[in-house]
């Protein structure tokens, strides 16, 4: 597991200018940000920033851009609350606050030389996109690479241009499915776990990365177990109520871990007992 790297003044935000805002789906936007302060720590795939809409509040948002281009920080935001709505509604030139990068990273180094299965549901593709950028920039380091992506509908697929470009490659298997097809959809219909039937990989030589709604994560892990991928080579990214980002406040505690500090990326065998744990 990657060890969190030190950040500059972890509780003090730096300002960043909004360079662009792109609408991905009816309720999801992608912001490109340029920090005002040069020399910020580079991020690793899977890490997140605390993004601050001044005067409204701060939320944890995974970094969804290319780790080889750390000067431009990309965040995909689903507008579900006051802060995310404010961020989604921001305009180029506006200024937001940033703290980070925080948290653990996807094990892209451990996956070298192996097959890589990336399984994402809905907005769960956002923290996994940096993995795909990294892998495609270092394609010779990996064997088979498979992306399984499920969304509610065609309109709710993230990063359509990336998906179309990736599907055109001969060195990457991209399988996409939607739960609710419209009349224009010609692709797979069904949940993301059903895509495993069509995915070609060697379970004994696979590292799997999973992110999406927690129910999707649990069923995807069952599918990976059924196919023989051991728990110690599957990783999940969890979402909890993260506030401080540095493992101090305790809001994101999950059993013995703080998701913001010990996660959000966890090796499955280390949190297996806590997945799906219900509040008393």
């Amino acid at each position: 597991m990657a060890v969190p790297q030190p950040v500059l003044e972890p509780m003090v935000p730096v300002t960043a200018k909004v360079l662009g805002v792109r609408r991905e789906t009816p309720d999801t936007w992608t912001l490109s940000l340029e920090p005002d302060r040069p020399g910020l720590p580079a991020f690793r795939p899977g890490q997140f920033n605390m993004v601050y809409a001044f005067g409204i509040g701060e939320v944890p948002i995974s970094i969804s851009g290319d780790p080889a281009r750390p000067e431009r920080l990309v965040h995909t935001v689903r507008a579900v609350g006051a802060v995310t709505r404010a961020l989604a509604g921001s305009r180029p030139g506006q200024v937001v606050g940033l703290r980070g990068p925080f948290g653990t990273a996807w094990p892209v180094e451990e996956a070298r030389g192996r097959d890589l299965v990336v399984a994402a549901g809905g907005i769960g593709l956002a923290p996994l996109r940096p993995v795909l950028y990294h892998v495609l920039s270092n394609r010779a380091d990996y064997d088979r690479v498979v992306l399984l992506y499920g969304a509610r509908s065609r309109a709710e697929l993230l990063y359509r241009r990336d998906l179309e470009r990736w599907r055109g490659r001969f060195d990457l298997d991209v399988l996409v499915t939607v739960d609710r097809p419209d009349a224009r959809w010609r692709g797979n219909v069904g949940v993301v776990t059903a895509l495993f039937q069509q995915a070609a990989f060697r379970p004994e030589a696979t590292v799997a990365l999973v992110c999406g709604p927690e129910v999707m994560i649990r069923f995807t892990l069952l599918e990976l177990e059924k196919r023989g991928v051991p728990d110690h080579r599957t990783y999940v990214s969890l979402e909890r109520n993260m506030k401080c980002g540095v493992g101090t406040c305790g809001h994101c505690q999950l059993g013995p871990v703080f998701v913001c500090h010990d996660g959000p990326v966890f090796r499955t065998d280390r949190i297996r007992d806590w997945l799906g744990k219900r509040e008393p």
Partner: protein, 153 residues
């Protein structure tokens, strides 16, 4: 329409590890069929002709509705099987199966297959175990779809 050798049948994931004897039995009632994009493999309400094993291409399992036309509920791809109404009375199809792209399947005729399952309980058990696995997967997928896990709360 082409007969299917037992060894080719045995390569399909649905029938993997079935004994050579059982594969020979199934091969007697198996044929390979090809469907063009948009063609129906089977149609709701029609007689359940048998078990389809997809070798290549993709099959959309769908219901035709008067207001929306075909409503796809699931896609079945290479290595998967589709069709279990041949086993369950009244042996009538519940859904349409449409090729989304050029698709090759193996069709094992339902009637002799049913009779073989009755007369050879070991073959019946092995096939039922596979069918139950397939049904459990489809049921789980349908439940997750109903749950609508991506819906904004």
């Amino acid at each position: 329409m082409t007969k299917v050798p037992p060894e080719v049948l045995g390569e399909h994931p649905f029938l993997q590890n079935l004994s050579p004897e059982h594969l020979r039995t199934l091969a007697a009632w198996s044929r390979e069929l090809e469907f063009g994009r948009g063609e129906l493999l089977f149609r709701e309400g029609g007689p359940a002709t048998g078990l389809y094993l997809v070798r290549s291409g993709r099959v959309s399992v769908e219901l035709h509705t008067p207001d929306r036309g075909p409503a796809p509920v699931q896609t079945v791809g290479p290595g998967e099987a589709v069709g279990w109404s041949w086993l369950i009375p009244p042996h009538r199809l519940r859904f349409d199966g449409r090729a989304l792209e050029p698709t090759r399947v193996i069709l094992i005729d339902g009637e002799p297959l049913r009779a073989a399952c009755e007369s050879d309980p070991e073959l019946g058990f092995h096939l039922l175990r596979r069918l139950v696995g397939m049904l459990a997967g489809r049921l789980e997928a349908a439940r997750l779809q109903i749950l609508d896990m991506f819906r904004r709360r």
